[in-house]
Every structure is written in C-alpha cells, then in structure tokens.
Amino acid sequence: MKFTLHVWRQAGPTAAGAFSTYEATDISGDMSFLEMMDAVNESLIERGEQPVAFDHDCREGICGMCGMMINGIAHGPMRATATCQLFMRHFTDGDAIYIEPWRARAFPVIKDLVVDRSAFDRVIAAGGYITAPTGGARDANTILVSKSDADDAMDAAACIGCGACVAACPNGSASLFAGAKIAHLGVLPQGQAERRQRVLRMIAQMDEEAFGGCTWHGECHEACPKAISLDVIARMNGDYLRALWTTHEEKQEQGAG
C-alpha cells in the first residue's frame, strides 16, 4: 500500500512548526500505524533527515504513550483503539493522511508529535491514590465488593492516560480522564476515606493546568481507546457537589507525613 502523509514537524517546544509531506511506500496492511511511521522514519534516516519523533512504548494498547491526531480523529478511525493497535488495512491504498500532535495548552509540544502530558501526572498526584497501607495480599473475600461496583471500578481503571480525550474535546477538557481516575477509586471501599478530598483536589488541579470545561459533546468517549463511559464525568460532578457541602476543615493537612 502507499500513503501520502502530511506530518506536523516541529523542532522543539518553542520552534515554529509546519506540515511536511512524505510518501509512505511498500506498506503492508498488517503493519500497525506506528510500524508504518517506523518505515517512514527509516527512509528519512537513510536520506539523512531527522526522523519524525512520536511517543510509544508497549505497542500493545496498554501503556498510553502513543497517540496522534490521524485525519482529525484522535487515535485514528477505529473506535476504542490506540494508535499502536490501529492497522493500515483500515485505510485505503493511496490515502492522504494528516498526522498532528495532541493540541492543548496543557500539553505543550516537545518535538514533532511528542507532547508533554505531565499535567496528567499532576492531576493524579493531587488525589488519584489512597494513602491507607494496603499490606500484603488479602483473602479475596475479606472486603466485599459487589459485582457491579467491581465492574465499574475496572471499567474506569482501564484508562491508560493517553490524553486522547483532551485532544478530541473541542474544549480541551480533561474531564473523562479525571472522571475515570476519580471513579475507579471512588466506587471501591478502599477509596472511600479520601473520596471527598480527592475530587476537590483533582478538579482544582485540572483547572490549574488550564484544561477546559466539559460541555458534554461526547467526543472524548468516542476517541478513548478504552471507551471510558461518559458516566464517569457525571460521577465526578456528583462527588464534587457532595464533597463541597460536606467536607470539613482539613485539620490533618499540616500534620500528615
């Protein structure tokens, strides 16, 4: 197969970027999108040019490193699929493909298609954890969790932090990501102790990072490689309301640690 790629090239965080056009030739339909990019990069290196920088790690859809805007769709045209799991057979021979980095003020471009997503790390650091010592593995039934709660927690925990939700959102909102992180702890008994502070802190941090607000377009869910449900956002909002009316002064704030 053959493709014409229009790729965003940007030498560094402050450099001005532009699209460059490359021909990808001899591409097999069984190659993943990233393997196709590898092939293009090989030919760039052979010609003595800079290869296109893009993020990737596991290449099996679980790490959340990969991600690019492919023809205007985050992670490309396949639903619930990360870029590394997208195969070239889903494109038509001869297609022109636009490839852009995630665009958000909170995700500055580092180089080409690589963006800095550490804003996500800071949102998690603000409250996406439990501080209870968990000790060794317990017997399975010592803490009872209903099947539906366990399912909800697992579905939310599937978020790999790729950032496609922010990239796809017309408002550049991180609500699906934050909602997933808040839900996956918030539905389990272990997550209850810090449930209120968690939602207040994570939302405050999300705003601090200059993500936009949610207007319920639903683009994030469509873009999400894990098809995280919009319900996590409603859950986050409900938790926020409850936390706001019920959270007491945090006396332990200075003493902790």
Binding site: T215, E249, E250, E253
Partner: protein
C-alpha cells in the same frame, strides 16, 4: 509548583468554599445547570399559559389578569429569580467559553467530529441568539416598546393576534424557537449529568426525556405565531 495552590486552597471556610466553587470549571457548570433547569421550568409553564389562546380570548386575558393582579407579588418573585438565573447563566457561560478557548491555543488542521451534535455545537451562539430574542420578545409583548401593530396594554389576545399577523415577527419567533429547542435538547440532557445524575447507559447519548422536552417546547411555542399567521386563530 503547580500542585501547591490546589493543596493549600483546601483549607475551607464557608466564604472561601463558595469562592472555590465559583472558580472551578465544574462549579460554574453546576451554576449553569441549576439556572438552566429553572429557566426550563419557566418556559414550560409559559408555554402552557400561551396555549390557552386556543380556548378563547377571554380565557387568555383572564389568565393574564390573574398573573398581573391576583398573584402580582409572586409574579415579581418569579421575575427576580429568572433575572438572577439569566445573569448567572450568561456570566458563567461567557467565562467558561473563555477558559475553553484558551485551553486550545493552537487548533488542528483537520478535525473530524465523532459525537458532537448540531445542538451541542450551537450552545454558545444559540444561547446568544436566544438572549437577543428574549430582549426582542419583552420589548414586543411585555412592554409594547416595539409595535409592529398598535399595542393594547392588558389585551394580551389582541396583541398576540395582531403581532403575529406581521410576517417578520412570526419569522423571528419561529426561528428563535428552533434555537430554543436545540438549546434544550442538549441543555436538559447535559445539565442533569453536570449535577451528577446519570443512569449508566450503554449508549451515551440516548436522551428520551430531553428529546421529548425539546420537541414539546418547540412545537408548543411555535404553534401560536404560526396559528395566528395562517389565520387559524383570529
């Protein structure tokens, strides 16, 4: 350090907490939801009131008399609540729009929307259109400042039937009601979720109640100018 404000800001007193609420994007959305739902409740009652036109002139004018004289204080209370709602709704919307635009300073060359609807994408401009329409509507039928035909204070029936004989008045109303229907189709559905209420659904955008509400309001309001214009009501 970016994390410090979020941490420090949690030493919450009551005033401080209200400020935090208003500062957060989620807080502003909640304000928009509550005020939006108040306005939905109002327009529903307004529409039901209007439909008395189809019974008789006397009935409609009696209803107007009831509102303006019998329960005048209540009417003013409702007006104040609505005014506060409108102001909060618009201020929050304007601020959120600024925040959202700032969140993506560099746009995409190509962007292919997957889920956004005409309704969800027209919320902002549709909202502006509705606000302008409300001003026009108040000047037209409440104060009688805009008089396409002579305005008779107290004779609601005559004002309505006279007013909607004018083609451009009817056109403005009909177009505005399309904007209102779209705004409610998205707003009624999303505001409930912004308040944290959602029954988990496999199809994220199934919204029977919001659809029904939008259609009923659109049809119930549009029928009045159309009925007058086409001479079904004289």
């Amino acid at each position: 350090m970016a994390g410090s404000r979020a941490q420090a800001s949690l030493g919450v007193g009551r005033v401080h907490r209200a400020r935090l609420f208003w500062q957060s994007t989620v807080g502003k959305k909640i304000v928009m939801s509550v005020t939006g739902l108040i306005m939905v409740g109002f327009v529903l009652l307004h529409m039901i009131g209007n439909l008395q036109l189809f019974e008789s002139a006397a009935r409609l004018n009696a209803y107007s008399h009831f509102l303006h004289h019998t329960i005048n204080e209540l009417l003013w209370l409702v007006r104040i609540v609505l005014l506060v709602s409108v102001v909060l709704h618009i201020v929050a919307a304007a601020q959120l729009t600024r925040i959202d635009r700032a969140a993506r300073p560099v746009g995409y060359r190509k962007q292919d929307r997957q889920a956004a609807t005409v309704a969800s994408r027209s919320m902002r401009w549709g909202g502006v259109a509705i606000a302008l329409f409300v001003i026009f509507h108040l000047l037209h039928l409440t104060t009688g400042t805009i008089q396409p035909v002579p305005y008779a204070p107290g004779d609601v029936y005559a004002n309505v039937v006279g007013g909607f004989r004018v083609w451009w008045v009817t056109l403005i109303y009909v177009l505005a009601m399309i904007a209102l229907g779209l705004h409610i189709f998205h707003g009624a559905w999303s505001s409930i979720r912004t308040l944290g209420v959602s029954r988990p659904r496999p199809e994220p955008t199934r919204r029977p109640v919001a659809t029904l509400l939008a259609v009923v309001l659109w049809a119930g309001f549009s029928i009045v100018p159309l009925a007058v214009f086409f001479g079904w009501v004289r």
